[in-house]
């Protein structure tokens, strides 16, 4: 039983007659950063949702370190996830939003939330409501919610969206330090530069299929 990789076998997803992901076969090794690039509509986000167990595949299966999504587990375990634009409760501040989320599993205390906010460059005690955050600040908060519980896997859909150059550099450094801690990271982007600087492997998608692998 494979416990070292994330295996995607013949993953296919159809909506009606449209194949949004077509017969994708990939292996993501543990402890590395893997990038998926492609233009809008190439199937990157749908693939990430399938890896997380948020959508069911029409065909194929996804094996997360020995556990098959939909058979052994319903949703990916021990993972921090950002898919599309991160959504938060707009009438609460950053800390409260993360506090509400941390209450689900009760794995961490307030200190871990403060640390996560500090790491992504947000002031932990700021009372500003998330509804008034810029896109970049929401993106940083999304990354904070993904890392705060110290997950083994990070699934990040376009994590650099909305960040300025300084922010992009900070997040790149963060992801590299998380990789050194042994985390498995899968990120997507439509920006090749973001991916190629960071990633150990790069996969290019277009129209639902893999067209290039490095």
């Amino acid at each position: 039983m494979n416990e070292k990789n994330i295996l995607i076998n013949n993953a296919t997803k159809k909506y009606g007659n449209v194949n949004v992901v077509k017969h994708v076969n990939l292996t993501f090794e543990k402890g590395k950063i893997h990038g998926i690039i492609g233009r809008n509509g190439s199937g990157k986000t749908v693939l990430l949702k399938a890896i997380c167990g948020l959508i069911t595949l029409t065909e194929g299966e996804i094996n997360i370190f020995g556990k098959v999504i939909g058979t052994d587990i319903d949703i990916i375990e021990n993972a921090g996830v950002i898919i599309e634009s991160p959504g938060f409760l707009s009438n609460y501040n950053a800390f409260k939003n993360l506090k509400f989320l941390s209450m689900i599993n009760k794995k961490i205390e307030n200190d871990a939330i403060y640390d996560a906010l500090n790491i992504v460059g947000l002031e932990p005690k700021c009372k500003k409501k998330v509804g008034k955050f810029s896109l970049g600040m929401k993106q940083r908060l999304g990354i904070a919610q993904a890392i705060m519980e110290d997950p083994a896997i990070l699934i990040l859909d376009e994590p650099m969206n909305g960040l300025d150059n300084h922010g992009v550099a900070e997040i790149r450094d963060l992801l590299l330090s998380l990789k050194k801690q042994g985390k498995t990271i899968i990120i997507t982007s439509h920006n090749k530069e973001d991916i190629e600087i960071l990633c150990d492997t790069v996969v290019e998608m277009d129209l639902g299929s893999i067209i290039n692998t490095k």
Partner: protein, 286 residues
């Protein structure tokens, strides 16, 4: 046990968000507005005759046809996107897992039904607060309006059932009406939830719920044959259309009403859990 604990935390998250939701505030405002409209003439009558009103108004409000449409519609407005109703649901789902997430939403719907019914009760009390009489009896105002035509000049629109006044204590009727209201709102919420899960188009789920609300409304007129009340879950909470005196009328009994609600609720929960495991959020969130 862990499943239930996570489910309760999902519920807690939704409840914490509820108080800041604009939709909830709009519903509270409109409940107070419509309750004040419907109780305006009762207030006038009490003022004119110089007697105070007892607080046991919920059963009468919930027997009023137009008020029922408004209250059910507002509840539908509040829960129309269940289960994927808040912007942070994706983060909750990944942390809790599908089953805990869906059970948490069911528990949230139940608690919301209780809260919503409490708001209706509170509004009925606050609207008459200047003329309220804290008593365990029906009081002279409700008694007079029900059993005589003294209120005819005031054109009051709440439906008063003489059976209540003559046969049952206010506390019993109030408790019964409260319980049936909670069950009816909860059942409506579960209908929407089930349709939103099974059919990927949320508009259809809400349209079906709207039809159910309309069906309840039509059953009180001469348009539709009244035996169809047996097939209208929302109408089972209308105490003026229940046979409380055991087989005297064609209406369903209280036993039928409660069993009907429990059956629909359990069936809905079963479907939610069974379909929730099978379907991804693309079925729910689109």
């Amino acid at each position: 046990m862990i499943l239930l604990k996570k489910a309760l935390r999902v519920t807690q998250n939704d409840i914490l968000n509820l108080w800041s939701e604009l939709r909830f505030k709009i519903c509270i405002f409109l409940i107070f507005l419509f309750t004040s409209i419907i109780l305006e003439e009762v207030n006038h009558f009490a003022y004119r005759v110089g007697y105070k009103i007892s607080p046991w108004l919920l059963p009468f409000i919930m027997n009023q046809r137009f008020m029922r449409v408004i209250l059910f519609s507002l509840f539908l407005f509040l829960i129309c996107e269940v289960p994927y109703s808040n912007s942070n649901q994706l983060f909750l789902l990944v942390r809790s897992g599908k089953i805990s997430f869906f059970i948490g939403k069911v528990i949230y719907l139940f608690i919301l039904s209780i809260v919503y019914t409490c708001i209706i009760c509170l509004s009925s009390i606050l609207i008459i607060i200047r003329h309220i009489d804290i008593t365990m009896n029906w009081g002279k105002v409700l008694g007079t309006l029900t059993l005589t035509d003294a209120g005819a000049d005031f054109n009051h629109s709440i439906k008063l059932n003489s059976n209540f006044i003559l046969k049952f204590s206010p506390a019993n009727v109030y408790l019964l009406s409260f319980s049936l209201c909670v069950l009816s709102f909860f059942t409506l919420g579960l209908f929407v939830y089930v349709f939103n899960i099974i059919i990927s188009n949320r508009l259809i789920g809400n349209a079906v719920a709207a039809i159910i609300i309309l069906f309840d409304f039509l059953l009180e007129t001469d348009i539709v044959y009244q035996r169809l009340i047996y097939l209208s879950p929302l109408t089972w909470s209308n105490t003026s259309l229940l046979d409380l005196r055991k087989n005297v009328t064609v209406y369903p009994s209280l036993f039928y009403s409660i069993c009907g609600y429990l059956t629909l609720i359990l069936l809905s929960i079963f479907i939610i859990i069974a379909c929730g495991k099978r379907y991804g959020i693309d079925k729910i969130a689109n």
